[in-house]
Symmetry: C2
Subunit: 265 residues, 2 copies
């Protein structure tokens, strides 16, 4: 897969449209050759510890980039990328409660805020599709189903919470291939953390995801579960820090990095 | 894992003991750093076609070595290795029926016989154990259970038959790791061909294997199925060629090749 030459699908163009309020929806399928990222913004007082949390939990929280405090222009991951305006939908959190959903966090910006870009399954989904596998949530036109599990993250002093997973159903041969392919992408969650019986990781009903939408699982299919970049939002709900900003699920930051650059081999 | 320095476990010594009739049992666990091989011996008239069959079915029939017609000394895979005497138990087949089990096929030898050495799961099991996974059939002291499936092999003009698989149960996380590890060993069957519901590949009862012994599968475990080097024996039963020789299941040829030499990475 070569990078698209369609200028309409170049990340620079898409970020400009997002900044201008023209693009406000989910980013799935946009600029498919390029890395999209989950976003977590925290005050510096908690950011150092969140960095440690990510180090201890590389499967749900694989770090693509970490900014300096107060840094708004992230040129290292995107030409002219402004982290305050270039995500189509943000969530502002206060004390673990959703305070606002906005398309521009400039009014909330503070000089002590640190931005964490966390790998997103869109990158490995691109590789799965390139190998000819079908993804049910794409076929059914919905967001991937995500579930809180009973798998604990490795905590730090102040940060803890359940691992969130995304689920994609496959027949067995495709599940095996998907494990091989995603193993090549540790920077975007890597290999699955579970497959088969959902109850073994504390999921009572596949039809009732905690985030995203339920998808069909056929009788001959096995649900396969990957660690998910929404895990930090479950940590926020658990730990209830005074202030934080995240992306809204499905509304990712589109970077200039190529998915192929994340493959180990 | 470095090659063992125990001279008693050197393949050369073990083959001598086998040739002398001192070692006559299964070879599992012997010289664990070295490649053991499945054996298929066919008259040249059918051997060319069996070579094509292996090319079309690399997962059950990954070729380690193919001899010249009539060649008995296989120095390329073992010092002084005599294919007529160095396997602890042979099966001699006539018209698809088991004619004899013997520990020396010198009386049956013909100048038109071609030997095929086919990779064996012992090599990848060595890697699984090295990574700390447990193998149930080893824990329970039996041969790995093997099953005829409804997965057809890719036939040639005269050769066809069902794929035979071996089964090892794992909890999900270990199953995922086992898929990653065995993917590195395409020369010894590589990644699994199925996992989960046995009925989907035509296995009615896990407790009734066609070869080897049944093992315990716990409720939280998933059966994982690998293509098996016993597949050619199922082909013999299906096609009923006039004459052939194989190893007896579990009684493999111990070569001087190192398992590590078979890993792709």
């Amino acid at each position: 897969m070569l990078p698209t030459t369609d200028s309409q699908q170049h990340p620079l163009h898409l970020r400009q449209q997002i900044r201008d309020g023209v693009l406000t929806g989910p980013t799935t399928g946009l600029a498919p050759d390029y890395v999209q990222a989950n976003l977590m913004i925290l005050p510096q007082a908690l950011a150092d510890e969140f960095l440690l949390f990510c180090q201890r939990n590389p499967k749900p929280c694989p770090l693509i980039y970490v900014s300096e405090p107060g840094q708004t222009l992230l040129e290292a991951v995107g030409q002219g990328l402004d982290i305050r305006t270039d995500v189509p939908r943000y969530r502002v959190w206060r004390h673990g409660q959703l305070h606002a959903e906005v398309d521009d966090v400039t009014p909330y910006w503070r000089d002590d805020l640190v931005s964490f870009l966390i790998g997103c399954s869109f990158s490995f989904e691109h590789a799965l599709l390139a190998y000819g596998l079908s993804l049910r949530q794409i076929d059914e036109g919905v967001n991937v189903p995500m579930y809180k599990t009973n798998i604990p993250t490795q905590p730090t002093t102040r940060l803890s919470g359940p691992m969130v997973v995304s689920m994609r159903p496959f027949v067995a041969a495709d599940a095996i291939r998907a494990i091989q392919i995603t193993s090549r992408f540790p920077a975007v969650h890597g290999a699955p953390v579970h497959l088969g019986d959902p109850a073994l990781i504390g999921i009572q009903d596949l039809n009732q995801p905690d985030y995203g939408s339920a998808v069909t699982v056929h009788p001959d299919e096995i649900p396969v579960f990957w660690a998910c970049g929404v895990t930090p939002q479950a940590v926020i709900e658990t730990v209830q820090p005074a202030f934080s900003i995240t992306h809204a699920p499905g509304h990712m930051l589109i970077t200039d990095l190529l998915n192929t650059q994340l493959a180990t081999l």
